[in-house]
């Protein structure tokens, strides 16, 4: 890497995590640049969700370190960051999109309130401005503005997921973690959501760490891919290279197990 290359946005070194002696993530290192979409794929129990939770600070690694380049350009070690500062980071410069929108939304607060809450975390105080921004974001995620006062409980699964995305993006984060964002949705709803995510990620220049077991989702959204099995990284590289010319036996099995529609 030459001196002109900016430092990575996120850099993880030798991350390991065990649950009661059973390793879920073993010596994983990776880096992510600004605007880059990285997919972590693997089957259930491969450790991909553990890795996502480690990277996003939701879990503390047993060993290893994670550095994040702050807006001032200085890379900071997340483990050494005061808890309050880390939480502020998670509420403003990061987003986290859960598979189950109920985990990422306040189900008893209106859609407008769900978006407005994140804005208030970054100092938004003016009610009219917050409401206008919320309305704008509802439009961007293709939710009719007249639904702004409805609670997410009154929304369909696809709408909840789009609302969760709006809530995450309203603070202009640079990095968004996504855990199976299209999982559990009907196929037609999935296609619409994928297209929406693809467009927003490109327009906003977001960096994304995306966990999915769906290789088609990884192909559509990601630049690079990491294949995990039993906590190890089995293979990594350019997304289309890994999917079209997989090298590792496990990756070949995974790719050849997908039914072509």
């Amino acid at each position: 890497m030459n001196a002109n290359t900016p430092a990575p946005l996120l850099e993880a070194r030798s991350l390991s995590k065990s649950y009661g002696g059973r390793p879920a993530c073993r010596q994983v290192s990776l880096s992510l640049d600004a605007g880059e979409v990285l997919a972590i794929v693997g089957e259930s129990g491969s450790g991909k969700s553990t890795l996502l939770n480690l990277l996003s600070g939701r879990l503390v690694p047993d060993t290893g370190s994670i550095r994040y380049r702050m807006r001032d350009g200085v890379a900071r070690d997340l483990a050494r960051m005061p808890e309050a500062e880390r939480r502020l980071l998670a509420r403003t410069d990061w987003g986290f999109v859960h598979q189950d929108a109920a985990l990422g939304l306040r189900m008893n607060v209106s859609a407008g309130g769900n978006i407005g809450e994140r804005l208030m975390a970054v100092g938004g105080r003016h009610y009219g401005d917050i409401r206008a921004t919320a309305a704008n974001w509802l439009t961007r995620v293709e939710i009719a503005v007249d639904r702004i006062d409805d609670k997410p409980t009154a929304y369909s699964g696809g709408m909840r997921q789009r609302l969760q995305i709006a809530r995450n993006l309203v603070t202009s984060p640079r990095l968004v973690f996504m855990d199976e964002p299209t999982g559990g949705l009907d196929v037609s709803v999935q296609a619409r959501l994928l297209d929406l995510i693809r467009g927003l990620v490109a327009d906003l220049g977001l960096a994304v760490v995306l966990v999915t077991h769906d290789l088609a989702v990884a192909r559509l959204l990601s630049h690079r891919i990491i294949v995990m099995k039993e906590g190890h990284v089995i293979e990594s590289g350019l997304t289309d290279r890994v999917l079209d010319d997989p090298q590792a036996p496990y990756t070949q099995l995974l790719v050849s197990s997908v039914l072509a529609a």
Binding site: E36, D195, H223, L238, R241, D245
Partner: protein, 239 residues
């Protein structure tokens, strides 16, 4: 590295590839060995040879889509020569954005995205302004005789030939300095084959280097400056 004249866009040296099929007892499937050729700016090199000789695999290695087993693929990328074989994924993506385009045999349809957006996307990715990219996309779709009423529709419901014309327009929209063509005219009628030949000629005149596969004899002889018989790179199997 050896001296390379300015006009050289792409140099392939000792390129080799075999597939190891782990699902089938680790069987090794040799594809090509010792592939070597160079392509100048403004030149169109066509890969020839029988089906199964490895033509498509070579194109996919040039694009970084297949992993080369050995050798080098040096691409003039701005002021640098980048070796696709050992470049970092990020560098390969940058080469694809600014230097190296690829027209596949089939359009990979993205749900809900209109034809004109699909075509404009590589130009936008290369940093071209929105209006210019859309003008360029419209010009290409018009040159390829795609009816204007289809431009704002997603191509999922288009015919095979219409989808392929969207695909070709997309490939040309990036105005890359090197363009890889994998049988782009296979599903086109005579008038549209003619349109593609015209597009290739115009880009060659502008200095684009082409590497392609064309099964249509007429198209091949009209676009090719040189034909390389890929069967010369067949893997020698010991008796």
């Amino acid at each position: 590295m050896s001296y390379l004249p300015n006009r050289v866009a792409l140099v392939v040296e000792d390129l080799g590839k075999s597939f190891t099929l782990h699902m089938h007892g680790g069987a090794r499937l040799p594809v090509v060995a010792n592939v070597g050729f160079a392509v100048q700016a403004g030149e169109c090199v066509v890969l020839g040879g029988p089906s199964g000789a490895g033509k498509s695999s070579i194109l996919k290695m040039l694009y970084g889509n297949y992993l080369a087993g050995s050798g080098h693929i040096r691409v003039r990328h701005g002021a640098d020569m980048v070796d696709i074989v050992d470049a970092e994924p990020r560098m390969v993506l940058d080469v694809r954005r600014r230097t190296l385009g690829y027209v596949s045999q089939f359009l990979r349809v993205i749900p809900r995205v209109p034809a004109i957006e699909i075509v404009a996307e590589p130009a936008l990715a290369a940093g071209v302004a929105h209006d210019v990219a859309h003008e360029r996309a419209a010009g290409l779709l018009a040159a390829l005789n795609l009816p204007e009423r289809l431009w704002k529709l997603p191509p999922a419901t288009f015919s095979g030939g219409e989808q392929q014309r969207v695909n070709i327009a997309r490939g040309f929209a990036g105005e890359h300095t090197i363009l890889i063509l994998d049988e782009p005219t296979a599903s086109l009628d005579a008038a549209n084959r003619e349109a593609v030949i015209g597009l290739i000629a115009a880009r060659k005149a502008a200095g684009t280097a082409f590497v392609g596969i064309f099964h249509d004899e007429d198209v091949r002889t009209r676009v090719a400056d040189r034909i390389i018989d890929v069967s010369a790179f067949a893997v020698q199997v010991a008796a």
